[in-house]
Protein backbone atom coordinates (compact mmCIF):
# COMPACT_ATOMS: atom_id res chain seq x y z
CA UNK A 1 0.00 0.00 0.00
CA UNK A 2 1.23 3.45 -0.93
CA UNK A 3 2.75 5.26 2.09
CA UNK A 4 0.81 8.41 1.17
CA UNK A 5 -2.45 6.44 1.34
CA UNK A 6 -1.47 5.10 4.74
CA UNK A 7 -0.86 8.68 5.87
CA UNK A 8 -4.37 9.61 4.75
CA UNK A 9 -5.75 6.56 6.54
CA UNK A 10 -3.95 7.46 9.77
CA UNK A 11 -5.27 11.02 9.59
CA UNK A 12 -8.78 9.76 8.86
CA UNK A 13 -8.78 7.48 11.89
CA UNK A 14 -7.18 10.13 14.08
CA UNK A 15 -9.83 12.69 13.19
CA UNK A 16 -12.60 10.07 13.60
CA UNK A 17 -11.38 9.42 17.14
CA UNK A 18 -11.05 13.13 17.92
CA UNK A 19 -14.35 14.22 16.44
CA UNK A 20 -16.54 11.30 17.49
CA UNK A 21 -17.78 11.12 13.90
CA UNK A 22 -16.44 10.52 10.43
CA UNK A 23 -14.23 13.34 9.17
CA UNK A 24 -14.90 15.20 5.96
CA UNK A 25 -12.32 15.23 3.16
CA UNK A 26 -11.48 18.82 4.12
CA UNK A 27 -10.82 17.84 7.72
CA UNK A 28 -8.41 15.13 6.62
CA UNK A 29 -6.84 17.31 3.93
CA UNK A 30 -6.00 19.91 6.57
CA UNK A 31 -4.05 17.30 8.53
CA UNK A 32 -2.06 15.80 5.66
CA UNK A 33 -1.49 18.98 3.69
CA UNK A 34 -3.21 17.71 0.56
CA UNK A 35 -6.28 18.71 -1.38
CA UNK A 36 -9.75 17.25 -0.93
CA UNK A 37 -9.53 15.61 -4.35
CA UNK A 38 -6.36 13.79 -3.32
CA UNK A 39 -7.96 12.69 -0.05
CA UNK A 40 -11.00 11.32 -1.86
CA UNK A 41 -8.75 9.46 -4.31
CA UNK A 42 -6.79 7.95 -1.44
CA UNK A 43 -10.02 6.97 0.31
CA UNK A 44 -11.13 5.15 -2.84
CA UNK A 45 -7.89 3.15 -2.97
CA UNK A 46 -8.17 2.39 0.75
CA UNK A 47 -11.76 1.27 0.20
CA UNK A 48 -10.65 -1.04 -2.60
CA UNK A 49 -7.99 -2.47 -0.24
CA UNK A 50 -10.63 -3.00 2.51
CA UNK A 51 -8.79 -0.52 4.76
CA UNK A 52 -11.99 1.52 5.19
CA UNK A 53 -15.46 1.55 3.64
CA UNK A 54 -17.02 4.37 1.62
CA UNK A 55 -20.68 5.03 0.95
CA UNK A 56 -22.18 5.60 -2.48
CA UNK A 57 -21.33 9.30 -2.31
CA UNK A 58 -17.68 8.53 -1.58
CA UNK A 59 -17.84 9.60 2.06
CA UNK A 60 -16.67 7.50 5.00
CA UNK A 61 -19.19 4.80 5.92
CA UNK A 62 -16.96 2.71 8.14
CA UNK A 63 -13.46 3.17 9.50
CA UNK A 64 -13.76 -0.16 11.22
CA UNK A 65 -14.50 -0.56 14.03
CA UNK A 66 -15.99 2.96 13.95
CA UNK A 67 -19.30 3.56 12.15
CA UNK A 68 -20.14 6.85 10.47
CA UNK A 69 -23.90 6.44 10.84
CA UNK A 70 -25.91 5.69 13.99
CA UNK A 71 -26.25 1.99 14.71
CA UNK A 72 -27.58 -0.18 17.54
CA UNK A 73 -24.10 -0.20 19.07
CA UNK A 74 -23.30 3.00 20.96
CA UNK A 75 -19.88 2.82 22.58
CA UNK A 76 -18.40 4.96 25.35
CA UNK A 77 -14.65 4.77 25.87
CA UNK A 78 -12.10 7.13 27.34
CA UNK A 79 -14.72 9.81 27.95
CA UNK A 80 -15.96 9.89 24.36
CA UNK A 81 -18.62 8.13 22.31
CA UNK A 82 -18.85 6.56 18.88
CA UNK A 83 -21.10 4.17 17.00
CA UNK A 84 -19.77 0.73 16.08
CA UNK A 85 -20.76 -1.28 13.04
CA UNK A 86 -21.64 -4.50 14.87
CA UNK A 87 -21.09 -6.34 18.15
CA UNK A 88 -17.56 -7.31 17.14
CA UNK A 89 -16.75 -3.68 16.43
CA UNK A 90 -18.42 -2.56 19.66
CA UNK A 91 -15.74 -4.50 21.52
CA UNK A 92 -13.21 -3.33 18.95
CA UNK A 93 -13.40 0.36 19.78
CA UNK A 94 -12.12 -0.15 23.31
CA UNK A 95 -9.58 -2.63 21.97
CA UNK A 96 -8.31 -0.16 19.37
CA UNK A 97 -8.10 2.67 21.90
CA UNK A 98 -6.60 0.38 24.58
CA UNK A 99 -9.04 1.62 27.19
CA UNK A 100 -11.96 0.19 29.11
CA UNK A 101 -15.30 0.71 27.41
CA UNK A 102 -19.00 0.10 27.65
CA UNK A 103 -21.74 -0.08 25.09
CA UNK A 104 -25.48 -0.23 24.71
CA UNK A 105 -27.27 -2.50 22.28
CA UNK A 106 -30.23 -4.89 22.23
CA UNK A 107 -30.74 -8.62 21.96
CA UNK A 108 -31.48 -8.97 18.26
CA UNK A 109 -34.22 -11.48 19.04
CA UNK A 110 -36.23 -10.17 21.98
CA UNK A 111 -35.12 -6.54 22.01
CA UNK A 112 -33.94 -6.62 25.62
CA UNK A 113 -31.65 -3.68 26.27
CA UNK A 114 -28.08 -4.86 26.86
CA UNK A 115 -25.44 -2.73 28.54
CA UNK A 116 -22.01 -4.32 28.36
CA UNK A 117 -19.05 -3.06 30.37
CA UNK A 118 -15.58 -4.15 29.24
CA UNK A 119 -12.75 -4.01 31.75
CA UNK A 120 -9.24 -5.13 30.78
CA UNK A 121 -10.78 -6.73 27.71
CA UNK A 122 -13.34 -8.76 29.65
CA UNK A 123 -17.11 -8.21 29.44
CA UNK A 124 -19.03 -8.05 32.70
CA UNK A 125 -21.95 -10.10 31.37
CA UNK A 126 -20.47 -13.41 30.25
CA UNK A 127 -23.79 -15.08 29.46
CA UNK A 128 -24.41 -13.34 26.13
CA UNK A 129 -23.66 -15.00 22.79
CA UNK A 130 -22.51 -13.64 19.45
CA UNK A 131 -23.90 -14.89 16.15
CA UNK A 132 -22.24 -14.47 12.75
CA UNK A 133 -24.54 -15.21 9.84
CA UNK A 134 -22.05 -14.99 6.96
CA UNK A 135 -19.02 -17.33 6.61
CA UNK A 136 -15.60 -15.64 6.77
CA UNK A 137 -14.84 -16.26 3.10
CA UNK A 138 -17.84 -14.10 2.17
CA UNK A 139 -17.49 -11.23 4.66
CA UNK A 140 -16.30 -8.70 2.11
CA UNK A 141 -18.85 -9.68 -0.56
CA UNK A 142 -21.21 -7.25 1.17
CA UNK A 143 -19.55 -5.83 4.27
CA UNK A 144 -22.62 -3.82 5.19
CA UNK A 145 -24.77 -6.94 5.36
CA UNK A 146 -22.03 -8.91 7.09
Amino acid sequence: MDPADLTVRRATYRRFVELGRAPTPAEVAAVVGAGEVEVRAAWRRLHDAHALVLDEAGDIRMANPFAAQPTDFRVDAGGRSWYANCAWDAFGIGAALHVDSEFDTHCADCGEALHVRVRDGHPDDTTLVFHVLVPAAQWWNDIGFT
Binding site: M1, L6, R9, R10, Y13, R14, V17, A49, H50, A51, N64, P65, N85, C86, A87, W88, D89, F91, G92, I93, G94, A95, A96, L97, H98, T105, C107, A108, D109, C110, E112, L114, V116, V118, G121, H122, P123, D125, T126, T127, L128, V129, F130, H131, V132, L133, V134, P135, A136, A137, T146
Partner: protein, 69 residues
Amino acid sequence: MLLFRSEAHVERWLGDRPRGAIIPVTKLAELATAWWGDRLSPAWVPHTREQNQGILDGLGLTDPFWRFG
Protein backbone atom coordinates in the same frame (compact mmCIF):
# COMPACT_ATOMS: atom_id res chain seq x y z
CA MET B 1 -22.79 -9.88 13.75
CA LEU B 2 -25.21 -9.43 16.59
CA LEU B 3 -25.49 -10.08 20.30
CA PHE B 4 -28.18 -12.27 21.82
CA ARG B 5 -29.33 -13.04 25.33
CA SER B 6 -28.70 -16.76 24.75
CA GLU B 7 -28.32 -19.41 22.09
CA ALA B 8 -32.05 -20.10 22.30
CA HIS B 9 -32.67 -16.51 21.27
CA VAL B 10 -30.40 -16.96 18.24
CA GLU B 11 -32.35 -20.03 17.16
CA ARG B 12 -35.67 -18.23 17.55
CA TRP B 13 -34.36 -15.21 15.63
CA LEU B 14 -33.07 -17.42 12.80
CA GLY B 15 -36.32 -19.31 12.32
CA ASP B 16 -35.89 -21.35 9.14
CA ARG B 17 -32.72 -19.55 8.07
CA PRO B 18 -29.45 -21.48 8.21
CA ARG B 19 -27.43 -21.00 11.35
CA GLY B 20 -24.06 -19.27 11.04
CA ALA B 21 -21.58 -19.48 13.90
CA ILE B 22 -22.27 -18.83 17.57
CA ILE B 23 -19.50 -18.01 20.04
CA PRO B 24 -19.61 -16.88 23.68
CA VAL B 25 -19.29 -13.15 24.26
CA THR B 26 -16.06 -13.84 26.14
CA LYS B 27 -14.56 -15.31 22.97
CA LEU B 28 -15.82 -12.34 21.00
CA ALA B 29 -14.01 -10.00 23.39
CA GLU B 30 -10.79 -11.94 22.87
CA LEU B 31 -11.32 -11.82 19.13
CA ALA B 32 -11.88 -8.06 19.18
CA THR B 33 -8.68 -7.49 21.14
CA ALA B 34 -6.63 -9.57 18.71
CA TRP B 35 -8.34 -8.18 15.60
CA TRP B 36 -8.60 -4.47 16.38
CA GLY B 37 -5.76 -3.93 18.86
CA ASP B 38 -3.36 -2.47 16.29
CA ARG B 39 -5.95 -0.52 14.30
CA LEU B 40 -4.85 2.90 15.57
CA SER B 41 -1.15 2.13 15.66
CA PRO B 42 0.98 4.56 13.60
CA ALA B 43 2.74 1.51 12.20
CA TRP B 44 -0.48 -0.18 11.04
CA VAL B 45 -0.48 -1.81 7.62
CA PRO B 46 -3.28 -3.99 6.25
CA HIS B 47 -3.33 -7.48 7.69
CA THR B 48 -2.67 -10.22 5.23
CA ARG B 49 -5.20 -13.00 4.86
CA GLU B 50 -2.71 -15.28 6.57
CA GLN B 51 -2.43 -12.92 9.54
CA ASN B 52 -6.19 -12.72 9.91
CA GLN B 53 -6.53 -16.48 9.60
CA GLY B 54 -3.84 -16.85 12.23
CA ILE B 55 -5.86 -14.70 14.64
CA LEU B 56 -8.91 -16.90 14.20
CA ASP B 57 -6.88 -20.09 14.43
CA GLY B 58 -5.15 -18.85 17.56
CA LEU B 59 -8.52 -18.44 19.24
CA GLY B 60 -9.63 -21.93 18.27
CA LEU B 61 -11.97 -20.70 15.52
CA THR B 62 -10.89 -23.42 13.12
CA ASP B 63 -14.25 -24.61 11.80
CA PRO B 64 -14.63 -24.26 7.98
CA PHE B 65 -17.04 -21.37 8.70
CA TRP B 66 -14.06 -19.32 9.86
CA ARG B 67 -11.83 -20.02 6.83
CA PHE B 68 -11.11 -17.10 4.49
CA GLY B 69 -10.55 -19.32 1.52
